[in-house]
Symmetry: D2
Subunit: 347 residues, 4 copies
């Protein structure tokens, strides 16, 4: 069976494993106060070209989202997200469990626009009963989004401008940041992101690490006492150097970006083939997630050799599915998938 | 100035004041362990024709909603409500502050249907990643709704059936229950409600009391330790007999229903006049809230003599507003309002 | 039966009732945006001799404590209180339900000392694992305390100094503030309290009001968006003018202080009698709560005519109890109680 | 430098690393739905000799504690723990952040007794204001405790009996369970623990794993929907098989117990030496944590070659410290430490 079901079905990139193996007989102080974490944090500051960034390492995405949001908001404040946002639909109410409402705004492509944020916030502020409504204070975006789309430089700076102007915080979930920054049409840099966002993270779990997300905080009010927040929410890894070591490996020699680019390139090959056979797409994008709409017959055939994720029924005969590539995707297997698609002809 | 801005702009019905005055020199045990509360609870059980109901008295609606929901759900469980529900849009995230997501379902008339509940719950249960999604467990409805509409007997029993079948809890916010049960087209009784709902409340604040909501709990798992929950959430009134005494007054000689019917009748007169002048309505209903769409010119004239609530702009020249009647609404003033509307001609 | 069980067993002082009756036919805007509340707030600012104070009115003490603390702390921060503090032992975990730890410090007299606060905070800050421990950030004191004792000017200024120096917030629960400020040995003024505390409240429920606590906030970071917090926690009374009107009555012609002084004086009479008969006290104090240790035999006799609260068994033959006076305590009944005590002879 | 500072300063036992390496090229379904987790769960059920146990794998201890407690309690319920309990003193208020009070009972040796639990619960139930006090519902114990002590069979069965009789839940934090079960004077088995506790966990992080705690749930009311709780609290590891694989390795050929016994034996050697030199102990115990009281002079010398943890100053010249052994402790280094202690002579 060949695996396109998600981008976290394999342990980690061999270089990550090698790095962990290399330090496996050393002793370290606990709780990310070690040299691996400080070295990885330094690498991240350098990539972002800013010295004023606080960097912390957490194990997973939901944990990171809930810790960041809980650290950022007062109790009556809410976070704005797309109606497809991970925090809205796929975290079992983790944000609400910290006491905060997620205000969902409609989105076709998984993105939130500066205009949506401005309208929502002004509507709230102009309400004579504003105090009876949760106060929008933070904007949550993901890049790439849950639908594989990415933010352009213009879009991100527009969001940043409206957040600054209205006193909101901007938070980017970067669980798949590598895939976003290496997409063929991307014009954003880590530097842009660190400039625009109050806080964001560089996702490891879905981009070659065993596990781990590197939180980067520019806003000092969020950074203050952030380690208390990590500990309180259960995210303080005893052997924290495991996180630092993985990011050291990923951020050395551009590995993080090389493997993400590889995944995108393999996805592009699949997209090209889908276009050839005239396949409709649930969502057009340029990253490692591909969302074709295929007939039940074709999917039945494909399912014999390839794993993929179900996205929902489109009509009586068609379903949308997701194929996902990763650092681990073998080009030859992509060739097999493309051949299978061509043979099926998009029926 | 004449007041149609809401149904809680006057202190309380004179009979409530008289009752409070009558006991003002007595001493009582604290925290609703007094004879007024037990007597009022007995009256409610009798009206509901069930002896197995737990009755508790709280001060206000948001407090009641958050206490009931927090008492009913485990942390990963969510409450389903209309997208117009008070708990969704007008409680500053009070439910989320207890840790629970509110799942909003689209509603044109402020009501939730049995079919919506069933579809949402089955969609969740059939999701292979169900555990990544907050679990829908309770259905929140209000009667009358935030848009003044009411549930029919058929609708309520259908909701109850689907909740029983799927293991959900049914909760009715009755902040305006009096107005619902005395609407001209109502076919529900308190007995029906006590049969169908796991928990509901009989609202006092908006129906003639100074303050107070009587929570009625049929489901023993919610009733267990409910006084702990009231105390923890800050809703345990030291001089609890103030609540009991008010409900004694309201539930004696049918006062609660008589004053609600009065309000509905006055609202019907306004509705009749609005129909005469061909006025469009934001929402058709039969209770004490009336939602006409009127021109800025007409509203400007009306605003000189009458207060009302703004519901939002409809087009360049029109806004929707709310006129609200209550136990306190003087028929002569309604005549004045109707005359003013007829004079304005619905422009 | 004569009532010494608590100071909230009677409805309200007649002047409060009169004031409410006087406005019972008027209409007001909701949610404490009315003229009664603004007038009462102005009276409070004047009494505190500061114009920079935010004043809000809530219904009860636990509600006030949890709202103030939730509004003041970030999630990882804790509140320090005496081990006898209301927030620690008598609010069903209301503070923890907002997510915050209560750090209890040992106290014989219900008070927290500046030295205790300093030691605890420095111990925390010097811990190499400080981040693994909830961060002490606010000091909760009550005046008078749960044991009827009061803070001296020196003690309060010392607490304020240590809080300022260490970046802590100082919060005074004034549920019984009237009794504290009119105690025979009190040297504090409202002005002192407003100077020393970031936030405090003037309790109405236990000092002559039907219900109501007036929160006074000096620290702008707590004051910001405080109405959102009130609403979210269920404390926003629809007919908020009921609160304002009561405080108008209580703060006119010094009524609040006069009735508190009356209660203290009656308590002094009981204390004097207890001293005469050589009765041991659970706690010495000068306010309206009296804590004698009496024999089961004496208590049995007293219980036939007087109500009081149980504080716990002291030895095989003795229990500590609490007698409470209030605005409502009739001097003749105090004479009866004193006579009964003298007759019993403190056995 | 030789490391006795804690039992989680080295990556993992080589057999764990080997197992992870062996599966590093395989693909697995996410979120612990894989074969490694099911196989490890089966091993645990077999060791506990019960088929009715739910087993889940989490990354760390605080995460596990907060998830278990949040899953077990209704909002007004509290957990009882020793005043030295990890949940009370070393988790940054993580339990309170889920809304629950930790009720600390005094303990000299880190243990909670059945008698303490019974007294506390009966005191609460007999209080006429019981509803004003957080309801004790769960007993949290750790084995070995934070002070290295262990529960005897008699003690655990007594706790279990009182919990069953009073309707309480019993939860054992087994972060160091291996060291407890292999202590020279231990008489408990995993089977006893699974019989007595509603829920417990087998700690991996401190006993040879890279990370990971295996939660074992006997009580179906806690087990229900537990995966929702894990996800909501951020503990659902994407690559969950990493957890299963580690426990497979640890539970094969008794490895978990062999390495724990090794650690205890090395600790015994240090204890023997400390006894030889007449050293006072902060706490006597038989597991891998040793708490000697040593002079500043001796500690200064030791600190040049050995790491250890500070436990606090005892008097002007002495401090208590902790030496910790682990699977990784080299007997030759223990010899060096013992030699150093003998040379210093316990001064």
């Amino acid at each position: 069976m060949y695996y396109f079901n998600n981008d976290y079905n394999a342990m980690c990139h061999p270089a990550v494993m090698d790095r962990m193996y290399a330090i496996s007989r050393q002793h370290f102080p606990g709780y990310s106060t070690d040299s691996c974490c400080s070295s990885a944090a330094a690498l991240i500051r350098k990539l972002c070209r800013r010295e004023d960034l606080a960097v912390h390492f957490l194990v997973g995405g939901t944990q990171t989202n809930l810790t960041v949001i809980a650290a950022s908001l007062r109790p009556h404040q809410a976070v704005i997200g797309a109606d497809t946002a991970h925090v809205q639909v796929h975290e079992t109410g983790a944000i609400e469990a910290t006491g905060h409402k997620v205000i969902a705004v409609p989105s076709k492509d998984g993105k939130v626009t500066a205009r949506q944020v401005e309208q929502l916030v002004l509507l709230h502020r102009n309400d004579s009963d504003a105090e009876h409504i949760a106060q929008p204070k933070m904007v949550y975006i993901s890049n790439s989004t849950e639908l594989g789309t990415i933010y352009t430089k213009d879009e991100l700076y527009a969001l940043s401008e409206v957040c600054n102007r209205l006193g909101l915080l901007l938070f980017m979930d970067g669980a798949r940041l590598g895939y976003a920054l290496t997409a063929s049409d991307n014009d954003l840099t880590l530097e842009d992101i660190a400039t625009c966002c109050d806080v964001f993270y560089i996702g490891g779990t879905k981009v070659g690490a065993m596990f781990g997300e590197a939180v980067v905080i520019r806003n000092p009010s969020i950074a203050e006492d952030f380690r208390y927040m990590i500990k309180q929410r259960g995210g303080m890894l005893a052997k924290g150097w495991l996180l630092g070591a993985q990011f050291e490996a990923l951020l050395t020699d551009d590995l993080y970006f090389r493997i993400a680019r590889h995944a995108n390139e393999q996805a592009d090959r699949i997209r090209y083939t889908l276009a050839q056979i005239g396949c409709r797409m649930l969502m057009e994008n340029t990253t490692n997630q591909i969302f074709p709409i295929l007939s039940d017959d074709v999917l039945k055939v494909l399912a014999e050799r390839f794993t993929f994720a179900e996205m929902g029924r489109i009509d009586e005969f068609h379903r949308a599915v997701r194929f996902c590539t990763s650092w681990d995707t073998d080009p030859q297997i992509v060739t097999s998938l493309c051949d299978a698609l061509l043979a099926a002809g998009g029926k």
